[in-house]
Symmetry: C2
Subunit: 418 residues, 2 copies
Amino acid sequence: MQSVPTAEIITIGDELLYGQVIDTNSAFLGQELGKLGIRVRQITSVSDRADEIVTALDLARTRANVVLTTGGLGPTKDDLTKHILTRYFNTELVLDEPSLRNVEAIFARFNRPVTEVNRQQAFLPASCLPVPNALGTAPGMWFEDQGTVFVSMPGVPFEMKRMMTDTVLPRLAAHFQVPPIEHIVVQTAGLGESMLAEQIADWEDALPANMKLAYLPSLGAVRLRLTGTDDGQPNLRGRMEALLPALREKLGQHIFAETDIPLEQAVGQLLAARGLTVATAESCTGGYLAHKLTSVAGSSRYFRGSVIAYHNDIKISQLGVLPETLAAHGAVSEEVVRQMAEGARQHLGTDVALATSGIAGPDGGSEEKPVGTFWLAYADAHRTVTRKIVFNRSRQLNIEYVTHALLNLLRLSLPAAE
Amino acid sequence: MQSVPTAEIITIGDELLYGQVIDTNSAFLGQELGKLGIRVRQITSVSDRADEIVTALDLARTRANVVLTTGGLGPTKDDLTKHILTRYFNTELVLDEPSLRNVEAIFARFNRPVTEVNRQQAFLPASCLPVPNALGTAPGMWFEDQGTVFVSMPGVPFEMKRMMTDTVLPRLAAHFQVPPIEHIVVQTAGLGESMLAEQIADWEDALPANMKLAYLPSLGAVRLRLTGTDDGQPNLRGRMEALLPALREKLGQHIFAETDIPLEQAVGQLLAARGLTVATAESCTGGYLAHKLTSVAGSSRYFRGSVIAYHNDIKISQLGVLPETLAAHGAVSEEVVRQMAEGARQHLGTDVALATSGIAGPDGGSEEKPVGTFWLAYADAHRTVTRKIVFNRSRQLNIEYVTHALLNLLRLSLPAAE
């Protein structure tokens, strides 16, 4: 087996150093290169100054087999990076016909004539292999120089991502003849990272030497990524998949997906598959739960609507919560969320409903019900399930955490498919 | 005048290179250093390996007057960065009493005994000036070595930010005796960057040489930041403020705030000041508008509730939209959003209401009403205002853009204060 190829990422642009733009490109590149088995050695953000870009390139090539740059391409910056690379590799700009046709096609789509500035974008350094840009006018460039690969891409995230997926990643895989590497994602909800690790410790310890498990935690959820590298034996993926039944047995209902989809989409698939409709009745989450459910394209198949009842009057008038229940137990109580969920089902005419009431903070807490106290409820035709959560980080994180817990409650409470 | 001090930022952690975490610390640091008049020369992300961190420090000090690092502090990583810096500056760890008392106070708050691992966090390199951590157990460190300042902070964003604001920025300002620099933020909504630039071109051209204007655009809004640097004359801030009336005159109602607050907070302040309550009736935005309004702490003073009416039945039953209007014009129409806004006011009992209906995509469009068609409405006791928007990027961006437009419609439509 050969050693692992290494990469460096250079992101170019004053706006990164001023903090006007957060660099999200590097994280995408790190993830994708990692999946290919290429280790990222360093990420460097530099200004638009030519001397600083050249210094960064000089240093990166001493440490890495491949240097990826984003930014500094495109008409407004006068193709800064392109001119620097042309000089750096001691070559000259020549017209690239396919790139020109791409620019012309894009302008034709908008019924506009090609400007001279955009025509210039089709001139590329003679020594580079062009990288087509399916979504924009600035092509990428692939250079090979004294054993190092250099790839230059635009800074616009969706253009860069498409370029990576369509062209750069396959070329890198071929160039470095990276050994086959396979990934399987298993997503869990409702278990913290350390609890989860404990629960599957035996399984993880028994993994063969060429398989590694990564824990990728987020608020209320943990993504598990099993990575298998070539061990000279056939059918790597099949051998990885053969390990999954034992993992499923250990984690049971905590697994919500075995693909890279968000929880709200997994829940939507369950609802759609069972032909069930859903409504929400929200107080403390203020519409964030409805937003999550409707952020999934096609959610109108199962989502009918919500009542956001911040004020108690609306809990009464729109959801049928009883004034005496509010008076006796307060809005943040098991009794009230139960009536909210049942009321939402009835008033909005759905098969199931979710409800929540709590204190998101920073103010509004009391000795008995401190900030971070939340009641959750699920209702269907046969039963109502309630749950209490105490969680207090910040207003925004509290809202996100409770929303995630509600989606998970829905997932776990839905009647089984027939 | 002296030359501008330069900084480099080094963020430490394998998770950054793997792309598991997006580096948001650097953007914050870049913004704050910029406000102080310190130019960020480079941002570097490196792994948790000692040799790679040392190399990054060696290179950074050749280019910058101050080197800021985040990450690699804290008990789980065994205070990696601290041990590396102790060796790097050829010093030794000694107990720092104030840091120990801070650790003890934090554990006392949670009623837990201080573990040995956490006690170790109070040992700091003898040659450093500690930087107190108000929100965590790992103190920061300030070193001065051969003319360069090194500051090491934890990677946890809220701990690092508080440390910067409380201690590091004031110390940097004193250390470099940076000339006075002043910033004034003016936030606008409803005008694109190029339109805005055109509208204030004369004003911008007439700015004195020591004042610069930056355009910081986001979806539907542009923040203007006027930065004034020392020109040896007194009262820099006063002279900057004297330029504002002319800017206000040129931009009029497009200005929504002269501080760094989001639009939903500015709108909330208007509602609270006028003692008005608000409700929303949402279809395509699916609760995102209610979420934005309620993301502001204290919003229960003016926000009463919402009806998310994805299904037409709910537009009829909860908002009083007439079935014949839906049949004649369709849900995405001026007539329907008008009834939704008026119905929300009435059914939810508020002074004003916002409503929207549209096609967020990716599916659901038609020849006549393509994806990206949105109708917006505002209603109060005296009038109803409607507006049509066509905007199509992605489902998520469409929802965000329309929500922003609704908040701006509310801001511009509210009755004047008495």
